[in-house]
Symmetry: C2
Amino acid sequence: MGIEIEYKFLVKDDSWREAAYKAVPMAQGYINDQAAMDSGAQRASVRVRIAGEEAFLNLKSRDMGPTRQEFDYPIPLGDARALLALCVGGTIEKRRHYVNHAGHVWEIDEFLGDNAGLMVAEIELAAAGEDFDKPVWAGADVTDLPRYYNLALASHPYSRWSETERAAVDLV
Amino acid sequence: MGIEIEYKFLVKDDSWREAAYKAVPMAQGYINDQAAMDSGAQRASVRVRIAGEEAFLNLKSRDMGPTRQEFDYPIPLGDARALLALCVGGTIEKRRHYVNHAGHVWEIDEFLGDNAGLMVAEIELAAAGEDFDKPVWAGADVTDLPRYYNLALASHPYSRWSETERAAVDLV
């Protein structure tokens, strides 16, 4: 078990691409739905992820904001494929790019499929309150906006967002 | 991933105890609630189990009847304790006894705490349709009765069952 302290930002432009040193295709889904988390009926999300040739089962506590309990376990690829078929909501497809910036690794998710057009940058910190430099390509802080979380995107993908929901992107 | 083919029976008396060769104390809980499964909002249950000094994360498909997809992963004991705190419903406590009978291992769950008084015997088969001998101490087949499943017991324990729900036990 670890404590995850993570901030999410929208991405303003493509200037990060020159500093990207790795990209991994990912497919992921959720065993539980967003509604169960919203209603408080469930206290943790359960995610199945295939990342390149590896697969993982991940649980995260429901706490909003940057800090959450996180549990991550490697599982066989065949299991992950079978578990994805048991997920509710859609399978999220994305390309995760890794970028070094000012001593931190940033992960930039370039969403595909039903979420194409959305790009979110994440930085994971070792401790709450740890300083980090916000790159020029990083825009609005969406850490506290549930609709940008992958769990929410599985049931309400970017392609189905309303004008109002999308407008927040343009405000950056 | 495996396919679990399992039958559940009530236990009529204590005559199995002389053939029991092992007993393991277990504590388990569920990340999701029964309602999510009943409504079809979720297709798999997610169980956290501490068995003696070992711990496991387990996912099972929702299919009723004896056959289900099952995924079982060992996890650190400390993780299991933290995950149990994130479970919904109560923690199920039981003592699982292992009994050899006619070439099969039977697992007899003697429930404690909120489910004290309930005893359920399970047999796991290698293939659907495989023959097995039903021991004299095994009573009614409850394989198709959801309330005897641990997931249901977590939110509706035996101590809170109505006369009608309990009556089925007496009918054995």
